[in-house]
Amino acid sequence: MNLDNYHDLIGRYLADEISAEERVVLRKWVEAQPSNQAFFEEARQLWQITAAYEDEPFSEGRQAAWAKLQSRIDSGSPGGRIVPMQGRRNWLRYAAAVLALIAGTWLVVSEWGQPAAYAEFATGPGERSAHLLPDGSVITLNENSRLQYPERFQERAIILEGEAYFDVARDERRPFVIQAKGATTTVLGTSFNIRAYPEEETVTVAVASGRVVVAGEQTAGAPVTLTAGESAIYELPTQRLGRSEVSNPLAWKSRSLAFEQVKMETVAQVLGRYYGVSVRLADESLASCRFVGAFEDPTLEEVLDAIAFTMGVTVEQDKDSITLSGLGCE
C-alpha cells in the first residue's frame, strides 16, 4: 500500500467505518515506524481541528425568516408572494416541483430510518439518573453530568462530561470506549467510575470489577491498565497519567463512605467531593493524622461530628466552607 491508501484507511478509522481486521492492520502500520505514527497523528489532529468549522450565524435573519414562513403558511402558497398573472404557469410548475420534492424527501427520510444522531443524557444539580444503553450496559450519571453516544451504537463509543458509574455489558469483539476530557478509557466488560468535571483539572478512573485500560493524549505516555480496586488519575495541565490511590471513588453511587486509616487530608478531599463543599484543614499537623469511620448515607454533620469526636478537632462551618482545626495526633 502506498501512503494514499493509508489516507483512505485512516479516513475509515476516523469515520468509524473500519473493520476489526483493518484496525489491526492500521495499528501495526502505525506502530512500525515513528514516521507512520506522525502521519497518523496528523490525520487524527486534523479530524479534531475540523470540529472548529463553522459558518457565520444566521440568527440575525431569524425574525424575518419567521415572518416569511408565517405569511407562506397563511397564504398557503410556496413563496408566499402575490403571483403575477404571466407567472401563473411557472408558479404551477414550481408547485409541482415542490410537491415532487416533498415526496422525494419523504422517501429519503424514511429510507434512512433512524438518523445517525447522538443521544444525550444530562443531569442538573442534585440529580442522578441511570440509563440502559443499546448494548445492555448501564450507566449511572452523577449530578451536573452529560453523556453522549451515537444512536446506532455499532461502535461502543461514548463521550462523558462530569461523573458516571459504568456497568459495561461484556462484548469481546466490541470494546467500549469512553472519551472524557482527553482521557480515553477502554474496556470489554466491567464496572468502574469516571470523574471528569469540566471545572476540575483531573480525570479519575476507578475500577470496581474487571479490567480497564486508560490512556491520555499522545504526550501522556503509556496507557495504564487497572483491575478491581485500582484507580488512575489523569492530570490535564501536565498531561500526566498514572496510577493513584483514590479514596471512596464510588461514594456518590453507593451513598456510603468508608475510611480505613485514611489521612485527614484525603478525608477532607473526599468530603469536599461528596458534599460539594470546600473542607480545609487549619493546622498542617492535622493533615497526616489518620481517621477510621464508616457511614451509610450520612449527612455532612454526622461525618463532621464523628471526626470532631474521634480526632479531637474543632469544626467551623460557614456557608460553603468548612474548617477543621486541632493539634494533630502526636
Partner: protein, 184 residues
C-alpha cells in the same frame, strides 16, 4: 411558551398550534441553516432552503414521528434539502480538479492560533476542496452519515466515498499543516 419537554411541543404542533411551530423554529433555525450551508455554501440559498424545510415540517406535522430527537429529525430534513439542491445543480459530475484550485487564499500560519481564526481557516480549507470531495467529507465529519449512506445519497460507490475521504484528509492536512502540532 412554557413547554417542559419535546413531546408536549410536538403534541401542540400536531394539533396545529402555531406557537409550537414558533418555538421549534426559534430553537432550530440556526442549526437547520448551518447544516444546509455546509452543503450548498451560499447564504441566501441556505435561507431559502431552510424555509422549505420548515414549511414542509409544518405541512407534514400530522405524520411526523420522532424516534430520536426533534433536532436530529430537522437536521436530517435539512441535509436532504441541501443534497437535493446540489443534485438539481448537478454539482457532482463536474470536473474534480477545478474547484480545488480556485481562491488563492492559502492557509498558512505563523499566525496566532485563535479559536475563531482556526474556525475560519478550517472553513476556508474545506470550501476549497473539490465539490464532491467536500460533500463526502462534510457528510461524514459533520452529519455522521455512514459511507454507505453517503454513497447512496451522492450516487457514487462506497469505494469512491473512501477515496474521496482519503483525498480530503490528504489535502486538508496540507492546507492546515500549521495547525497540527506536536509532530514535526
Amino acid at each position: 411558551m412554557p413547554y417542559t419537554n419535546e413531546e408536549q411541543v410536538l403534541e401542540a404542533l400536531q394539533a396545529g398550534d402555531r406557537p409550537a411551530l414558533r418555538h421549534i423554529f426559534d430553537a432550530h433555525y440556526e442549526m437547520v441553516c448551518q447544516a444546509i450551508m455546509r452543503l450548498v455554501q451560499d447564504r441566501s440559498t441556505s435561507e431559502d432552503l431552510a424555509q422549505e424545510v420548515f414549511i414542509r415540517f409544518w405541512e407534514k406535522r400530522a405524520q411526523i414521528q420522532i424516534k430520536t430527537s426533534l433536532s436530529a429529525y430537522l437536521r436530517r430534513m435539512a441535509i436532504n434539502e441541501g443534497l437535493m439542491y446540489l443534485r438539481r445543480q448537478k454539482r457532482w459530475g463536474t470536473d474534480e480538479l477545478e474547484a480545488g484550485r480556485e481562491a488563492g487564499a492559502e492557509v498558512s500560519g505563523e499566525d496566532v492560533l485563535l479559536q475563531d481564526e482556526l474556525g475560519q481557516r478550517v472553513r476556508l480549507a474545506i470550501q476549497q476542496l473539490p465539490p464532491r470531495c467536500r460533500a463526502v467529507f462534510q457528510l461524514s465529519r459533520y452529519e455522521e452519515l455512514t459511507y454507505k449512506e453517503i454513497a447512496d445519497q451522492l450516487g457514487i460507490s462506497v469505494k469512491t466515498v473512501e477515496h474521496q475521504m482519503g483525498k480530503a484528509l490528504r489535502v486538508l492536512k496540507e492546507r492546515l499543516r500549521a495547525y497540527l502540532h506536536f509532530f514535526f
